[in-house]
């Protein structure tokens, strides 16, 4: 089959799958946490019910808030959907003129980061500004780690296209357990935890003003505005977990298009993302949120790992 058509089909499947999967992933993460903590929990479908509820409400907007409160959530949603289109999640067949280039993907993600930060400021309250300021500080400090860790992963493949990186790891699995790759993956995971506001950088379960990052920015949003903000953030988490799982366990991903391969790809990425979600949730039980001003130390540590990975791959390999 034509490469363009198969790329379009895979992108379409990825978007549909992840829009379905992202709320489910959140439900699983919350339910696992509740079970381990000895609570009953709301069930794994609760995020879906929340979204349905929010979409059926009349949004409340403050006087003086601008179009940003309406457009920002859409921008975040579009940026997350673009991530689902561009990242090699179900398959590695890229669009011809928009390959899943590392820098393009990072900057598409940054569109969402900026949109969320501006929504936080637009409310005109202390909370929103505080969340926005912290969010942007973390985002700024994460970026070197993010770029360098994928740079390290890109060296064996010889290209910064993420689908090519995943294919290289699929066809020569010894790359996955090389020290360079392990260092880079650890660094990348820390960066992604910070980028998606998970523990130990942010506590997604809290509404205490001293600890809020992500939640503070969404305080003024309600109804469908809030729904898009939430779904957009969940989608981003799901897509990035999908990327990590495909980098660690690339098997199952579609490289040559076929109906059976597509089915295997869909099932395998869904299983991988959910398993990673469970692992994330279990891991978070043992972590406390670090103080805001210790986050830079954590990020500096992850940056050191990423830098080591890049230079090692040059000097050792």
């Amino acid at each position: 089959m034509n490469a363009v058509v198969s790329a379009i089909i895979i992108a379409f499947v990825q978007v549909l799958l992840f829009v379905f999967l992202a709320p489910l992933l959140m439900g699983v993460i919350r339910q696992v946490r509740a079970t381990i903590e000895g609570r009953a929990g709301a069930g794994i479908w609760q995020p879906w019910r929340d979204v349905r509820k929010l979409l059926a409400k009349n949004p409340v907007r403050a006087e003086g808030s601008s179009w940003m409160l309406k457009a920002g959530p859409v921008a975040l949603m579009v940026s997350s959907l673009l991530l689902c289109v561009l990242l090699p999640l179900v398959g590695t067949i890229p669009f011809p003129s928009i390959p899943s280039d590392l820098f393009v993907i990072v900057s598409v993600m940054l569109i969402g980061v900026v949109a969320l930060a501006l929504v936080g400021l637009d409310g005109g309250t202390a909370f929103g500004g505080m969340g926005s300021s912290r969010h942007m500080t973390v985002a700024a400090l994460v970026e070197p780690t993010l770029l360098l860790s994928v740079y390290a992963l890109s060296i064996p493949a010889g290209t910064s296209t993420i689908s090519a990186i995943v294919e290289t790891r699929l066809f020569s699995p010894e790359v996955i357990i090389s020290p360079v790759s392990v260092l880079a993956l650890v660094a990348l995971s820390i960066a992604i935890m910070a980028e998606t506001a998970r523990l130990p950088v942010d506590n997604p379960g809290t509404h205490l003003e001293l600890t809020m990052l992500h939640e503070a920015m969404t305080l003024e949003a309600s109804g469908r505005d809030l729904a898009w903000l939430e779904v957009g953030s969940w989608l981003k988490l799901a897509a990035l977990l999908g990327l990590v799982s495909n980098l660690v366990v690339p098997w199952g991903v579609v490289t040559d298009f076929s109906a059976l391969g597509l089915a295997i790809g869909v099932v395998s990425i869904a299983v991988k993302v959910l398993v990673l979600g469970v692992l994330l949730s279990v891991g978070e039980i043992f972590l406390a949120k670090v103080r805001l001003f210790q986050v830079p130390e954590l990020l500096a540590g992850s940056f050191a790992l990423a830098f080591l990975a890049v230079t090692a791959s040059y000097l050792v390999a």
Partner: protein, 672 residues
């Protein structure tokens, strides 16, 4: 006479006409006449530059009575590119200044200086010998100094900025003059063709390189010669700041390229490393200062240092990589540096003009007192927003394409055909990527802060609440600037191909245009097609937007008079986050570099020291380089000046005796 020669002559003629009209026109007509003539000068320069960029040759020969070669103005492709950039900014600025100037900004002197400045800037890239280069350089500096001083009578800070600017630009000029002198002495001629004959490894070339780096680095606002920037750009009238930051600084970049690409190509490896170090340090220091600044124009000024740092980082990387024969990556890095310079001209001049519009409407440039301008000044907000996206290197703007290309060249430059090119490159490239990444991250924060605090939320002061949109001509200029940012970002392919022509011997191997204006780097194997990205975003946005439209019909939104504010019922505008508080976490994180001074005064209630009546917090972030590097030198000079005051105390007898002694010494020396 060729087209280029005629264009240059026409520019000079129009310049003379503009000066005359500024001197003679009635005050009510002065701005209109000056603005129209300056626009014509810039348009002529634009066409001439485009002609040269597309490969036309020819020029303007000016015979002089001195015993040396006549002055020849004949831009090559690279010169044409910079003429184009400078005059493009000139068009925006001239249109804008027609309705923005008032009071001392519209004085006779200011309108005489404006065409002089514009013509001077456009002649520098056209020069083909060091004498005309230096002459045009001084015309440019003179024009800009006078323009800066327009408002010196009413504000003391302007006068101080003027002194800093004059001192620093004369220092730059001295270094450049010395550099050309060294090269001219070694080659025996002043024309660039003569200077090209010098061996890049020779001592003369090395000395000249250092001198040029200091000279052009000063003009391009590189650390540690950037100290004039945070004083001068904020104090100058906004259209002048836009011209300085958007155009004049590019002339410094042109100087760097002239030396490293045209006069002394293939220099030793340490040149590339030195430029990368200076560029990287400037990028980080500039953006760090910009991110913690609450003064909109200081923020933009420091961000200029950052961008020029990235341009020089790209230039240095290309020199280093060329030394290791990684030609494809080297060419891509150089084209990226040029694209960054071009896109910076577009977005930074728009940002400065936007800042000018804010000042025009509110009289404020302190972000802490702005807010809510988006609803009051929609055109300014849109233009400033688009230009901010460009400055933050977000896709479909010009800044993103340039940074993407730079990063691509860096991550592919370390290896050539699977083999590591050198140890130096394998440390330098990751470090450069990290510097660019941190810079990009902080730039994002900076411009989210600038846009979000100024244009969103609720007004933080009465002038911001009463702001009105600026006059139509200023809006037009802002809109043109924003459009150019988008155009450069959406059609990078053809533009990058044109730019590659100016510096690469084999441009199609370095950069090609693909698809709908997309850009491809064949030597590296990377492709970027912004228009396809827009189409894709539109496709995924359709279902979201449709569902919003449907939902908005069924569940219309409700407006309440106060934001919820976490349940606080008295969420007043002054309780919002300000620019200072926005950057507070960053000030803490980079405490060691920024060295902020903080003063907290707590006043207790008289009855009990457990109750606080008021708290006063003052935070000041000063330029560490200025206080640590320049102040001691200045203090030394000051002490020397006090000592010398006794020697020259104004007594005529003493001065006569000095002359007498001097005469005696001369006679003795001659007689020996």
């Amino acid at each position: 006479m060729t087209g280029i020669g005629a264009g240059l002559l026409l520019q000079l003629g129009l310049g003379a006409l503009a000066v005359t009209s500024a001197l003679l026109a009635a005050p009510s007509l002065r701005s209109r006449a000056g603005g129209i003539l300056c626009t014509l000068i810039a348009v002529t320069g634009f066409v001439t530059g485009l002609d040269a960029l597309l490969g036309a040759t020819g020029g303007l020969l000016i015979p002089i009575a001195l015993p040396m070669d006549p002055l020849l103005l004949a831009p090559d492709r690279l010169g044409g590119l910079f003429m184009l950039v400078v005059s493009g900014v000139g068009i925006l600025v001239s249109l804008y200044s027609m309705s923005s100037t008032r009071g001392p900004d519209a004085s006779r002197t200011a309108w005489v200086a404006m065409p002089v400045f514009l013509v001077g800037m456009q002649l520098v890239p056209a020069a083909t010998d060091s004498v005309s280069f230096l002459l045009a350089w001084e015309i440019m500096t003179l024009g800009s100094t006078v323009l800066l001083l327009a408002d010196h009578a009413s504000r003391a800070t302007v006068a101080s900025a003027g002194i800093w600017y004059s001192a620093m630009s004369q220092l730059s000029f001295f270094f450049i003059l010395a550099g050309f002198a060294v090269l001219a002495a070694a080659s025996g001629g002043t024309s660039f063709t003569n200077l090209q004959a010098i061996e890049p490894g020779s001592w003369a070339a090395n000395v000249a390189f250092v001198l040029f780096l200091l000279g052009f680095g000063g003009k391009a606002e590189l650390v540690p010669l950037h100290v004039w920037v945070p004083r001068v750009l904020p104090e100058a009238p906004s259209h002048v700041s836009a011209a300085m930051s958007g155009a004049m600084v590019k002339i410094g970049v042109y100087g760097g390229l002239l030396v490293c690409v045209r006069l002394l190509p293939d220099g030793p490896a340490w040149w590339g490393i030195a430029i990368m170090l200076v560029g990287g340090a400037s990028a980080l220091y500039g953006i760090l200062q910009a991110s913690v600044s609450s003064d909109l124009k200081v923020l933009l000024a420091y961000s200029t240092t950052e961008n020029m740092g990235l341009v020089f980082l790209g230039l240095g990387a290309s020199m280093l990589l060329r030394g290791y024969d990684a030609t494809a990556a080297a060419d891509a890095a150089l084209v990226a540096a040029l694209l960054l310079a071009v896109s910076h001209a577009a977005f930074k001049s728009t940002l400065f003009l936007g800042a000018g519009a804010i000042i025009h409407a509110t009289g404020e440039r302190n972000l802490d007192r702005l807010g809510g301008l988006g609803a009051r000044m929609p055109v300014t907000a849109a233009a400033f927003g688009i230009a901010s996206l460009g400055a933050a290197a977000i896709p479909i703007t010009s800044g993103f394409v340039a940074e993407w290309m730079l990063l691509q060249s860096l991550i592919h430059g370390g290896r050539q055909g699977g083999a590591v090119v050198s140890v130096a490159a394998s440390v330098a490239m990751p470090l450069a990527v990290a510097v660019i990444a941190l810079t990009a991250g902080l730039a994002l924060l900076t411009f989210v802060k600038a846009y979000g605090i100024a244009f969103l939320a609720r007004p933080r002061s009465a002038p911001a609440a009463d702001a009105r949109e600026v006059p139509p001509l200023m809006q037009l200029s802002l809109a043109l600037g924003a459009l150019s940012v988008l155009a450069l970002g959406l059609l990078p392919g053809p533009i990058a191909a044109l730019v590659a022509n100016t510096v690469s011997s084999n441009p199609t191997a370095a950069v090609q245009s693909v698809g709908l204006g997309g850009v491809s780097l064949p030597g590296i194997g990377a492709v970027l097609d912004p228009i396809m990205l827009v189409v894709l975003s539109a496709l995924v946005a359709i279902p979201v937007v449709v569902s919003i439209v449907v939902s908005a019909r069924r569940h219309p939104h409700r407006t309440v008079d106060l934001p919820w504010g976490g349940g606080g019922s008295r969420a007043r505008p002054r309780m919002q986050y300000t620019a200072t508080s926005y950057a507070e976490p960053l000030v803490r994180v980079f405490d060691d570099v920024l060295k902020p001074s903080r003063d907290v005064q707590v006043t207790h209630v008289a009855e009990s020291r457990y109750l606080v009546e008021k708290v006063r917090v003052e935070q000041h972030v000063s330029d560490v380089i200025e206080t640590r590097l320049y102040r001691p030198v200045l203090n030394l000079f000051q002490r020397y000046g006090i000592v010398v005051r006794h020697v020259a105390n104004g007594s005529i007898h003493r001065y006569l005796s000095y002359s007498f002694v001097a005469l005696l010494i001369v006679l003795i020396v001659v007689s020996l």
